[in-house]
């Protein structure tokens, strides 16, 4: 019976060491395997997206400075007829990444906005007519400007939260304050270049009316309030989670068309239609998001009917899907894929321009993206208002070499940082490496785990070149990425003239003048080339043929409002 003595005498130390080493090896193996398989899809670095629901109407919306706006009357008449026709569809969607947090104010990635964007709404929303984006009132019914720095907003009066409580100005006040306090993006949107809040005070006039007092005139106010990072939650929730992210699903309460029912980390999120929704209720009753990091698993799932819709489809999967009778939807995307050039290390603008000339964007889009992308000829997606098309850096090896020689940048070596989250980025890095080799620049590719990548690029600025793709919510927001000292300014680009233009845009009341300022700022940024401007990635969504009326926003967000079967 000796063997019942655990550890068996003198074997003890060996056992311990063996297990310890075993665990460390298992841990490292696990990590390695995770890098190989624990990711998928085209989604990579996603700098904040904003998204809300589109309305099926074309809105030509001029930024409303010194003018009054009252939104079209709510949709009360249609709800009666709609109620009879309402279907109860269960829609299953395969997603490539899990949501990062349950908290809309901490939402960052595509998945976060996809899911929480159906649960929460902001004061304004982003409308999409198929070619241009516009910023229209959401929870706000009407507004008017009181003076240069004060705006009066009236809320819609039929809006209720998922807990049955009516939306009041108090909720708005504490939600906005929390967003500015805690939300990374909220802070970006609602503070000025010096880090001071743009909104200095929120005065509550009555239940549904409030006044935003600004520190200075701020023209992009509405487009920034359309970002879901400024979404509205009940006051009690905002105060309960004043210091950190919402952690309990019971406290995920918004005003959106869907409410969160269950969340199983790494597996699935289930949303249920909210019957008290103030707008048109969708036909989809249950919206299930299945998290499938593996790209071929998503593809198989949609083909075999396990899911109805799959997002994060890469261009090389399109043909295979179509041949299996699956519909592939395509929409222009706002995600600008670029190779950031560290401006502190590559000081000479001629070198940065040379890098732009050295890459054949036409071929990259045609071969690498199989045509499912648009060559960037602007610094932000042309779907945003006021974006101008600029003189392209046409592929020209001779010119690139000449510029490099002028700048004395010959026989140099650069490191190119990529995140291991997307296989596509790693392939792209190899393509870029080849192009730069042709103009005499040795490129060493360094792959990093995603979070480590973010820290290295955006906090430590320790890189020469880095591949990522910001997806801003508006032109102004896109431009602020490149402001001196901005936190999203990974390459540490700095041009005082550019910074000054951004300040002028924010305070310029005349729209004509503002358009001109916008154009100037874009030209400067394009010319200074803090990045190799590559392409805007198309958004590809696979859906089973029975699903009709599905729409896709350029932020890679599904719109299920009009889905029917």
């Amino acid at each position: 019976m000796f063997f019942f003595a655990l550890g068996c005498g003198e074997k003890v130390p060996r056992t311990g060491a063996y297990v310890a080493v075993g665990i460390v090896i298992a841990f490292l193996l696990g990590l390695g395997a995770g890098f190989l398989f624990g990711r998928g899809g085209v989604t990579t670095v996603t700098v904040p997206t904003t998204v809300t629901h589109t309305v099926e109407r074309t809105v030509t919306f001029t930024p409303p400075i010194l003018q009054q706006y009252t939104s079209p009357q709510p949709t009360a008449p249609t709800t009666a007829t709609q109620a009879q026709l309402l279907q109860n569809i269960t829609l299953k969607v395969a997603m490539s990444t899990d949501i990062r947090a349950l908290d809309i104010h901490f939402a960052m990635g595509v998945a976060d906005f996809e899911v929480l964007g159906k649960v929460y709404e902001a004061l304004f929303k982003i409308a999409w007519d198929g070619s241009k984006l516009a910023y229209v009132p959401g929870l706000v019914k009407s507004y008017s400007q009181l003076n240069e720095t004060a705006w009066l907003f009236i809320l819609r009066n039929n809006v209720v939260f998922h807990n049955g409580k009516k939306l009041t100005a108090e909720d708005v006040k504490y939600s906005l304050l929390r967003s500015i306090r805690l939300s990374g993006i909220g802070k970006q949107l609602l503070t000025d270049a010096a880090g001071n809040p743009i909104i200095t005070d929120i005065v509550i006039a009555n239940e549904t009316a409030f006044i935003l007092k600004l520190s200075a005139p701020f023209t992009p106010l509405f487009e920034n309030l359309a970002h879901l990072s400024t979404a509205i939650m009940p006051k009690e929730i905002a105060l309960k989670y004043w210091d950190g992210p919402i952690t309990s699903i019971e406290d995920v309460i918004g005003t959106g068309p869907f409410r969160l029912v269950s969340y199983e980390k790494g597996a699935k999120v289930v949303l249920q239609r909210f019957d008290g929704y103030w707008g048109n209720r969708p036909n989809v009753k249950t919206l299930e998001y299945l998290i499938m990091p593996d790209a071929s698993a998503r593809m198989s799932a949609v083909i075999s009917g396990v899911v109805d819709v799959a997002v994060g489809i890469s261009p090389d999967m399109v043909e295979a899907l179509r041949s299996q009778g699956i519909e592939v939807y395509r929409a222009p995307g706002v995600r600008l894929v670029l190779v950031a050039i560290n401006c502190k290390r590559v000081l000479d603008v001629r070198i940065r321009q040379a890098l732009n000339y050295a890459v054949n964007k036409e071929d990259v889009v045609k071969e690498f993206m199989r045509g499912y992308a648009e060559i960037a000829t602007s610094v932000a997606s042309p779907t945003f208002p006021n974006v101008v098309s600029l003189k392209p850096y046409t592929y020209n090896v001779t010119k690139a070499r000449q510029l490099l020689e002028e700048a004395g940048f010959v026989g140099k070596k650069l490191t190119l940082l990529t995140s291991t989250r997307s296989p596509k980025d790693i392939q792209l890095a190899q393509v870029i490496q080849q192009y730069l080799k042709n103009v005499g620049i040795e490129v060493e590719i360094v792959q990093m785990e995603h979070t480590a990548f973010l820290k290295r690029v955006f906090t430590d600025h320790d890189f020469d070149l880095a591949i990522y793709g910001p997806s801003p919510s508006s032109l102004y927001y896109a431009l602020t990425y490149w402001r001196t000292g901005a936190s999203l300014n990974g390459p540490e680009y700095s041009n005082p003239e550019y910074d000054k233009l951004l300040d002028e845009i924010a305070t310029e009341p005349s729209e004509v003048k503002r358009v001109e300022l916008y154009r100037k700022a874009q030209e400067i940024l394009w010319r200074d080339a803090p990045a190799i401007w590559l392409y805007f990635e198309d958004i590809l969504i696979a859906a089973r043929p029975g699903i009709k009326g599905l729409q896709v926003l350029p932020f890679q967000m599904l719109i299920v409002d009009n889905v029917y079967v």
């Binding site: 019976m1 000796f2 063997f3 003595a5 655990l6 550890g7 005498g9 074997k11 003890v12 056992t15 311990g16 297990v19 310890a20 075993g22 665990i23 460390v24 298992a26 841990f27 696990g30 990590l31 395997a33 995770g34 398989f37 624990g38 904040p48 899990d98 990062r100 947090a101 349950l102 901490f106 960052m108 805690l182 990374g184 993006i185 802070k187 970006q188 880090g195 210091d243 950190g244 952690t247 980390k265 790494g266 597996a267 698993a297 593809m299 198989s300 799932a301 075999s304 009917g305 396990v306 990093m448 785990e449 979070t451 480590a452 973010l454 820290k455 690029v457 990522y468 901005a486 936190s487």
Partner: protein, 301 residues
């Protein structure tokens, strides 16, 4: 009796040591890896100094590392595993659910693998379909588990069969197919070894039937085989990462990857605790089984 108790205490202390070392190693590794929970929460937006400070204080990440670790140890000894930063649920509930899933996968995969291996070994022993068994073994070993998973999936899609994502079936089949090759080879070489032992010649001379002979050889091979199988069981419990990811099976592997990717330290530590204890337990089981099954080892003690 006294020696038994001393050994039990020794074993327990040993377990404690293993647990302390693994949790410490994993925690330091995770914390020294660039990027932390707050980097994950804020992503690329990082200028938020107050936001970072508020959260660090809230999550207890602002105190020195070793104190964090010591307080973790203190809490875990009284059964407080902490709360997941992202899921907001108690770590124990999260990890335990996944642990049960992985345990189930590990047990069933080991059983099916062993069953198939014994079948193949028997076929080869009776000199039937020898080519086939060798072929099966070499195909199985030449393709890694992850690839087997993908191939299975593609096959099912082409056959228009709906794939049960999230259920145990697919990972089970994948791990069985991928495991058969190696374990068949081990079992076969052990049986061949047995066949060359004089006692088998004796049994043969006694006129035992083929199947009886096979059982005798199997009995001889068992202790070594079990040691090998237990090692793989441990690996699967710790996480069959690739297979779990492909088929969306909620096991320990996915838990580890998710926890690491989101730098959810309490969950990561929970994983480390449960896995270190399991691996230690498996190791002890291995020794004990060895003792039970192999009389020679018993005599040595």
């Amino acid at each position: 009796m006294r020696r038994l108790w001393i050994n039990i205490v020794k074993g327990f202390l040993n377990l404690l040591l293993v647990f302390l070392i693994t949790t410490a190693v994993i925690y330091f590794l995770a914390r020294l890896f660039p990027g932390d929970t707050i980097t994950v929460l804020y992503g690329e937006v990082n200028s938020l100094q107050d936001g970072r400070r508020i959260l660090e204080a809230k999550l207890g990440l602002d105190i020195p590392l070793y104190i964090q670790l010591i307080s973790f140890w203190q809490k875990i000894l009284v059964g407080d595993w902490g709360i997941s930063i992202f899921a907001g649920k108690p770590v124990f509930d999260l990890v335990f659910q996944r642990y049960v899933n992985s345990l189930m996968l590990s047990f069933t995969a080991t059983l099916t693998t062993t069953a198939v291996c014994i079948l193949l070994a028997y076929l080869s022993f009776t000199r039937r379909c020898r080519r086939l068994t060798t072929l099966v073994a070499s195909i199985s070993t030449s393709i890694p588990a992850a690839l087997w998973g993908v191939m299975l999936m593609v096959a099912l899609v082409l056959a228009k069969v709906s794939i049960p994502f999230g259920s145990i079936i697919m990972p089970l089949i994948t791990l069985t197919i991928a495991g058969v090759g190696v374990f068949y080879t081990i079992l076969k070489s052990l049986i061949d070894e047995a066949l060359s032992e004089p006692f088998m010649a004796f049994y043969r001379a006694m006129g035992l039937t083929k199947s009886r002979l096979f059982l005798k050889a199997l009995r001889y091979a068992l202790p070594m085989y079990i040691t090998a199988v237990l090692y793989r069981m441990g690996l699967i419990i710790a996480g069959a990462v690739a297979t779990e990811t492909i088929f969306n099976y909620p096991g320990m592997g996915k838990l580890l990857i998710d926890a690491f990717a989101s730098r959810d330290y309490p969950v990561l530590l929970g994983w480390a605790v449960i896995i270190s204890l399991t691996l230690a337990a498996l190791n002890i089981t291995g020794d004990v089984m060895q003792d039970i099954l192999d009389p020679r080892v018993r005599e040595l003690m």
